[in-house]
Assembly symmetry: C2
Homo-oligomer: 324 residues x 2
């Protein structure tokens, strides 16, 4: 690899081939004089999401399993000659349901990816380097009323939420110990074109399958907020540009409406596919163990930065279904 | 091993050879018809602390490194024939300072021990099994004013605190997924006879060394609460007997006074050893990276259970120095 890579800003995106990573990449790549290092293990991420960028000289893709100790001389060489500007750590086991049966999925793919990428990059972080982490509403567990950043306790019910919170904790200590600034963004459900999991993805697969019935996880009454990936990215880029004096900065980001019911998403999808199927709901009000069937965000802290989400849950879902 | 072990209550203590584990063992062993499985890797724990119990038929000691996947048929056989009553998970890297330089120390010895012991015991937990975890004030990071359980955010500054919080998160998801009750006790500094680390341990070593000077970590003005291990154990046993309806129960435990200064501990120790040395303090107000130099507990939640600590920080330190 003979790239002219000297004195440039380096952006690292882990989980670059996922929904959020691939959308972020399409945004960051517009910047001048930068190098973007994209990392994915392609467990959930898909090459097709980032294929248009693989020939771009600014972008270098690495297939690495971040849950194992990272040894990569190519990346080290790039970092030695350039400035590590932003680390976007998005790699995770984003498939929450799978973690209910296999605790190691989240431990490895969410928590160990975090500790490993931090330890690997530690020699290269500078005072101006910032670390951005994609956390989740799942860290709060089942909270009554609107969830604000100060809502307590943080007692996650899913391993997914637990390992996101464990990652936040690690990043907190890492920022203090290495004197760098971190941003922790707690997402609601995020939807968009490049889905790799989640309600639209699952239901669509079932709808176009040959199965006579459409079996829905839970009783369909689960009502959660959804935001569109395009606004999520816009929001994060907006917030990290604002002045922050603290080392650790954490925000609930997403729409603050009361969400949309799974039942309604089912009907929107059936309409889109123009398919009629008998819908079978479960009795359980939760889709899986550790599922939080209802929650609502307070985004007051985010709104104080000047950012507001314009697409509510319904519009975000509509947009994602249209694109998907 | 041909122990008559059938239909008995099994208590598991990880970190059994540490300060808290060894003191707890001396208490639990008084119970009738029980089996106590003690686990330690003897990294910090000391065999001498539990030597008097190793010939007791109720007690079975295992030298196991819990940071690796646990495979132990002897323990499995015991669990198959008996009831898993209480899991006291105390094993951890209790040496906070060491973690500042080696992030893996806390990750392995605090976090992975937690996830591994939970996964190993998962097939044996019953509805009545309870899990008790020794957490720490360090999970809160640097909070202004008194720290209550609802204090926010939980942004630990040390890897020690980060991996205690990560363990709490894992235990939270574990309890929900396996339908068992957990108790998370957040300790202040704990002192007593069987010290393996901490301020009394470190300073004593330095005082009796041949060094002409006594170098103290930090400026000596750090002021933290200390509780004596005997009261900590009494408190935990009291609390877990009380009725709790929630799956996850978490308490700040310890004295709620404003602590004792490191400087004062130095003088108490010099007096005890009857040694005169020139004391050298550092300029830094923290003893190490991630040290929280001042904090105070709110123990209102604990007090509502009816339990009160009687020894304040000064008396706890005095008692520990006398015994050590």
């Amino acid at each position: 690899m003979k790239l002219k890579t000297k004195n440039k800003d380096v952006y690292i995106i882990t989980g670059v081939a996922g929904l959020i990573g691939s959308t972020l990449l399409s945004d960051l790549i517009k910047r001048k004089k930068c190098i973007i290092i994209g990392i994915d293990n392609f467990r959930l991420g898909k090459l097709e999401f980032i294929k248009t960028f693989t020939r771009n000289k600014k972008f270098i893709l690495f297939e690495i399993n971040l849950n194992k100790k990272i040894i990569n001389n190519k990346i080290l060489n790039i970092l030695k000659k350039n400035r590590l500007k932003q680390i976007w750590h998005l790699a995770a086991n984003s498939d929450i349901q799978s973690g209910a049966n296999n605790t190691f999925a989240d431990l490895k793919n969410t928590f160990l990816t975090t500790s490993n990428i931090c330890n690997f990059l530690k020699p290269f972080v500078e005072k101006k380097t910032i670390l951005i982490f994609s956390s989740s509403s799942a860290i709060y567990g089942n909270i009554k009323g609107r969830i604000s950043e100060g809502s307590s306790p943080h007692m996650p019910e899913s391993y997914y939420g637990a390992m996101k919170l464990a990652s936040e904790s690690f990043i907190s200590a890492f920022s203090f110990n290495n004197n760098i600034k971190s941003f922790i963004f707690r997402f609601p459900n995020v939807v968009g074109k490049n889905l790799t999991h989640g309600v639209i993805y699952d239901l669509s697969k079932k709808i176009i399958s040959k199965n006579q019935y459409l079996k829905v996880l839970g009783n369909g009454q689960q009502r959660k907020p959804y935001s569109h990936v395009s606004e999520i990215i816009k929001c994060m880029i907006y917030v990290i540009k604002k002045k922050h004096n603290k080392k650790i900065n954490y925000y609930n980001i997403g729409t603050n409406d009361s969400g949309i019911k799974v039942k309604n998403i089912v009907h929107l999808l059936l309409k889109k596919f123009r398919i009629k199927k008998k819908i079978i709901y479960e009795k359980n009000d939760r889709g899986w163990k550790g599922d939080i069937p209802h929650y609502k965000y307070s985004t007051k802290k985010l709104n104080r930065t000047g950012f507001k989400f314009h697409l509510n849950s319904y519009l975000s879902i509509k947009k994602a279904i249209k694109e998907y």
